[in-house]
Amino acid sequence: MNPRTARPVAGTAAVGRAASAVLLIAAVLVAVLGPVAKAEPAPRWRYLLDRAAQAAEERAYAGEALWVTYDAGQAHVSTFQVQSSGNGDLSLADSDNYAIRLADDGGGLAEYERGWFVPLPAADLAKAHKGLSRLEEKYQVAVTGSQQLLDRDCTTLEITARAGGGLVERLWIDDASGLLLRRETYAGDELLRMVSYLALDLNPRRTPRGAPTAQRATRGQRPSMVRRSQEVAEVDSADLEVLRDAGWTVPTALPGNYRAESSFAVSAGDSQPLQVVYSDGLYTMSLFEQSGRPNWDTLPPGAQETTDLGFKAYTWPGAVPQRMVWEASGVTYSLVGDAPPEEFRAVVAALPHPTSDGLVDRLQRGLGRLWSWVSPWS
């Protein structure tokens, strides 16, 4: 062995061992991190919408918002004040008409014109992120660009229906705060409604002295108001089955991919309505069912009778969320929701409604009543 060549051979071996160690470590890292590295990043729209939902609860802000809705070509315009405490307490008020407070520990609705106040159950403002996965079942969301709104840089998004590809929503999200500043709702190319901030303060003062009417109302009942009792209890799926067997109308799904998500038994006044909340991932509808025929005189102002669906019902043109009340077989149904008008009407048509009272209908109804009198299972 040549002594001059012995040292280089030993160094080569050491380098080889080091290289092997590096390769081994690299292989381990690839094995562990490979799946993560290969995973597709979450879409940016999902991040933006989730952030908007969180910001609605976690940021303190105050502002004035503009509402515009279009009904049969007629525009309905209103403004309201918004105030968020930044800890899950949100209030909305129209100083002449109403104030509503939503909070994790419960809120209330104050109706100024008629002088009453009703407590509301707890609201979970930040649960929006839980519904984002369902949004993709029926809709497609895309980031379309950037625009300025209220001198603030915003990212714009568009939501289109998977079936047909028609535009459904256009959104403006503030880049700095994450808040949703403007929302336009479409049916095809027709603008249905728009809500947008006219002014926004991201550093509102807390409980200022001489607060405007809206802020006083959002803290609850005024001394002069009549308090209306209302208790709400969640109804689980087992109880829903019992109610269904007892004859209550509790569909698990409605046309347009609306699925029942939650249900509540409301105890208020002379009736105990059942509320079932449906959602398609983007829009939400609540069906209220009461045993008994409606006292039409108790409907809030603005109600207009309609027979467009082939039976008598009452609606409030231009109001959002939409609302319709009708009666079928001694049961009062009230549907409230922000779905596009065509989907709203399709849901109403799918629910029980009065049919023409011909001889066959009368005999069927009579046989059913006779059976219920004699059957031990009725």
Partner: protein, 148 residues
């Protein structure tokens, strides 16, 4: 065959039915005592008579010239459609029951005008709806318009 059997043979049925005169019965009895053959024939006639009396009488239909008497059972007549009258009565009864049920169902199916009426606080429903839908994935500060 004993002498005189030919004279007594025609009287055998009358002897069995008890229709002979007194003197004929005496002569017949004297002959049967000495004639085994006639005694056997009389026995056969009694058995045949008994069998005939045990068979139920068949009524001759009126169309075939039968004669109705008080003791004669009335046959079941068919109705004009050819159905037995009992079946026709059953069908009529069922039709009456169906008609009665229809009348009862019509009366019971009158529109219910006596059901209680309930207040419909739609404005409160709107607030309840917002409480439970405010967390929608596209959450705006408000989707409320109590008044249009």
């Amino acid at each position: 065959m004993a002498d005189g059997c030919d004279a007594f043979e025609p009287l055998g049925s009358a002897w069995v039915d008890g229709e002979l005169r007194h003197d004929e019965r005496a002569n017949m009895a004297a002959h049967l005592q000495g004639c085994p053959r006639c005694r056997s024939r009389i026995t056969g006639l009694r058995i045949t008579s008994t069998m005939l009396r045990s068979v139920p009488q068949r009524q001759v239909p009126m169309e075939l010239g039968g004669v109705r008497t008080d003791a004669t059972p009335v046959p079941v007549a068919a109705d004009a459609s050819g159905l037995p009258r009992a079946l026709a009565r059953s069908l009529a009864g069922m039709a009456a029951a169906v008609a009665l049920l229809g009348v009862a169902a019509f009366a019971a199916g009158a529109p219910d005008t006596d059901a209680r009426t309930v207040a419909v606080p739609v404005d409160v429903y709107v607030a309840d709806h917002i409480v439970h839908s405010i967390g929608g994935p596209v959450s705006t500060p408000a989707l409320l318009s109590a008044q249009p």
